[in-house]
Amino acid sequence: MAPLPFNIQSFEHYLGEDKLMGGKCNACGMVVVPPRPICADCGGIDLEWVPLTGKGELMAYTNIAVVPPAMAAEGYGRNNPYCSGVVGLEEGCHVVARIVGIDASDPESLSIGMPLTATILKSEVDGIAKVRLGFEPS
């Protein structure tokens, strides 16, 4: 069977099955999350899906208090900020994700380099299921 297309939709499809998967380039070994149809490093197109350990560390973050409509629908806002960050994965690539299990109203509760573990965030807004990648302190 042909693999799922190497894109964000497939990545989220796997998340919905509680699987954290990345796209590995068989030419250079680079792993990209979420995957894309062309290797970001060497331009290769011989790709395969690989499971990720979900372990990484925080590279950059922000606590967002002025929130977009989709996040407002989940209850976030000026008095309830959320955190988004860039996480460096054990596999050597970076991924952008929600950071949870911390106090987003207190920037001191986070620090660059802190170890993180992936967690799959599932929510339902107006009857529509949403699945997102998150990370929490290890």
Binding site: V33, T62, A65, M71, V86
Partner: protein, 421 residues
């Protein structure tokens, strides 16, 4: 090593104009562009017959979203009476009009056209703040939006990485905000013509008048540290780190170098022009600089045969305070990690050795995204011709200025060096 690029024919700016920037419920983009165009026409010393304009390039990011109207090239061309001359819209998010400028330069350099109008326009204030945020977020990379990143959020994350690497804090960003707010009252076109100190004193005065508890702010930074006065938007970005929602337009007239003296004895020349593309955050090896800006700068310096020291002043894309900090380093004005120290020492103030954003910057002049890139060039025009009034840089030998314009979260960056000979 990168190839040094040259224009086949040099290009001059012989007229420049911009509308006032602000939020205008009673006017639309045609009003703004008309205002900019009238000012530009009046600025051409020896006049211009508009029938001599060969073509027009217009930057507009997202009026489709903001006012549900697209296809602004011919709309503006028809407004000005340029039909049937070609009108082309360019889109590079917040760098849309810098791309229009670039297309105009190339069209003349190729020899195809001689006289080209370039500009930009955007109307954002008809949308609520959340809608504007949603509209701007169209220019993030696809995975960033899904991870909850907003525009200020992406720059907030960049600031967190910069702080961690170089030991800066929010204090460093406040120096930038205070400086922009000090310059803006000197710019009649600016959206926020008030210094932080005056804003602070007005709030104290109002509290006293109303008999409310009077805030105890010792200085501007105490005001900016107060979360009531300066609430968090996307840590470490707070309200006063962020540019406003704005409406406005800008334009300049480009002509082939050999025609310039027909229009003015005092043209500005395009000495260097560069553009680069950047990656999303998940593909960036390093979050503390903007690859696209470094590439654009290298291209422009190479073409001009100049170094960062040669650029005497610049307009630098400060959609968020941290963007100005990182970009003054990426443009080579200061070494990586040194920018915030130089800024704290006053290096980028109007009277400093490297004035940055004498217009008040995007933060205070306003940021009608599609109009911004060319409006930066209007500021360079004013400074180099010595007509910047109260905000004129106090240097009698002003000769070289530059503009840096950024689109999206750094996906498109341009750097343009202008010279008065």
């Amino acid at each position: 090593m990168k190839k040094t690029r040259k224009l086949n024919r040099n290009v001059a700016i012989v007229g420049a104009g911009m509308s006032r920037f602000g939020m205008y419920r009673d006017r639309d983009c045609r009003d703004f562009f008309s205002e900019a165009f009238q000012e530009m026409m009046a600025s051409i010393d020896k006049g211009l017959d508009i029938n001599d304009i060969d073509a027009m390039y217009l930057g507009n990011f997202s009026n489709d979203f903001f006012v549900h109207q697209a296809h602004w090239g011919p709309i503006m061309s028809e407004l000005l009476g340029l039909v049937p001359k070609p009108a082309t819209r360019t889109e590079g998010a917040c760098a849309s009009s810098a791309l229009a400028f670039r297309e105009g330069v190339f069209a003349i350099a190729s020899g195809f056209y001689d006289i080209v109008l370039v500009g930009g326009a955007e109307q954002m204030s008809r949308c609520a703040t959340e809608e504007v945020a949603e509209g701007l977020a169209l220019a993030t990379f696809p995975d960033e939006g899904l991870a909850g990143f907003t525009f200020p959020g992406v720059f907030g994350a960049a600031a967190s990485a910069y702080f961690d690497r170089y030991g800066a804090t929010r204090d460093a960003l406040m120096d930038i905000t205070i400086k922009s707010h000090n310059n803006a009252p000197l710019n009649p076109k600016a959206q926020f013509k008030v210094s932080i100190r005056d804003l602070m004193n007005a709030k104290i005065e109002k509290a006293e008048q109303l008999g409310r508890p009077v805030p105890e702010w010792d200085d501007e930074k105490a005001f900016l540290w107060d979360p009531k006065a300066n609430p968090m938007v996307a840590w470490p970005m707070h309200l006063f780190d962020c540019c406003p929602i704005s409406d406005g337009a800008s334009c300049v007239l480009l002509v082939a170098e050999d025609l310039a003296k027909q229009f003015t004895d005092d043209p500005l020349y395009v000495a260097g022009i560069g553009q680069g593309s950047g990656r999303g955050m998940s593909s960036k090896p390093d979050l503390t600089y903007f690859e696209a800006t470094r590439y654009a700068a290298e291209e422009a310096y190479g073409m001009a045969g100049m170094t960062p020291e040669d650029v005497q002043f610049a307009e630098v894309h400060d959609c968020f305070s941290v963007a100005e900090l990182i970009h003054v380093e990426d443009l080579g004005f200061f070494k990586p990690g040194e920018g915030y120290k130089a800024i704290a020492d006053g290096a980028t103030r109007l009277d400093g050795p490297k004035p940055i954003n004498t217009s008040g910057g995007l933060k205070c002049k306003g940021h009608p995204v599609g109009a911004t890139g060319v409006s930066q060039m209007v500021e360079i025009w004013s400074q180099l011709r010595g007509i910047a009034g109260e905000r004129q840089i106090p240097n009698p030998n002003l000769r070289i200025g530059a503009t840096h314009n950024l689109g999206g979260t750094g996906g498109t960056c341009t750097f343009t060096i202008l010279e008065r000979r």
